[in-house]
Symmetry: C2
């Protein structure tokens, strides 16, 4: 609506808004889903929706390949993140995660099998949020729901940049050919 | 609230909800932000917020390292995605993207410099959505705003899985040590 909108690409042909392309866009983004309505609402009100657990050391909190519809927030303790090397079939440490880290968000979002396993290194305190509850929060506490969604976007984005940068370190070796799924 | 909630980790100590850990959680997730209220609304109503452009072939649609607060939806045509190899200082093709692909979403989310460049391969039709407009949509059309947020979550998640899987292909070589930023 502002002047800057139409001046973003001054060397290109400006076509106005997307009203003429509604059908095309509709066909393209036909995979939108979930969650409908929302209202107004914060963190103290989120807490009742979370479920907290303490695990002993050496416990498998998340197992690679399992179904999973929840993510967890680590409150105290550390987990080792392991992924099975398809060549050797042995688990390899791919990371560590401590308090404040969220685990399992990819499967929460897409319902696909767990990407890696998480093993507690000593006593572990964590809070669980599953997909159904997230839907309920968005339905019952819209303001909190939005913040959760925003938080998830920031988290996924941060990880995507991190992993993309790691992948790019391999670029010079010529084996990386696609980063756009 | 359901029985399954408390039975998710039957071998662990169940501590109830997170009310006792509010302060800790508050300190951990202190970086939540943006967007406040929302109502009801869909795609035909989203279209007026988008700005469409057509670019000729060989145009640099997005430049690696630039600031950018917008993402784009490709409607027609293809772009080549290039990233400068830090060793050779030459651009290397890291992917192609065609109609239905979204580009630039990482910088839209975090305001960090563009990760890669996008060059049109022939005439290109695309629709732009910037951060400010996204805020406005969420403010004025909550239902559409939520769907946009969900769409962004699905997109980022899909890319994260894809790039993580690519990175894991290198795991056997022993140089990958961390996927959890």
């Amino acid at each position: 609506m502002s002047v800057s909108d139409t001046n973003r690409f001054p060397s290109f042909e400006y076509l106005g808004d997307a009203v003429p392309y509604i059908e095309r866009i509709g066909a393209i983004v036909a995979h939108i889903r979930l969650f409908e309505d929302f209202e107004a609402g914060e963190l103290a009100r989120l807490a009742p929706y979370l479920r907290c657990y303490r695990a002993p050391g050496g416990a498998e909190i998340i197992r690679e390949g399992d179904d999973g519809d929840f993510m967890m927030l680590l409150l105290d303790g550390t987990v080792e993140i392991l992924k099975v090397d398809p060549v050797t079939n042995l688990p390899v440490r791919v990371g560590l995660a401590g308090p404040g880290k969220i685990l399992g968000e990819m499967s929460l979002v897409d319902g696909e099998p767990r990407f890696a396993s998480c093993i507690s290194m000593g006593s572990l305190l964590f809070a669980v949020l599953d997909r159904e509850t997230m839907s309920r929060i968005i339905a019952d506490e819209s303001r909190i729901g939005i913040k959760l969604l925003m938080e998830l976007i920031l988290l996924l984005n941060q990880r995507l940049r991190h992993v993309s940068n790691e992948l790019m370190q391999w670029l010079g070796q010529g084996r990386v050919t696609s980063i756009k799924p």
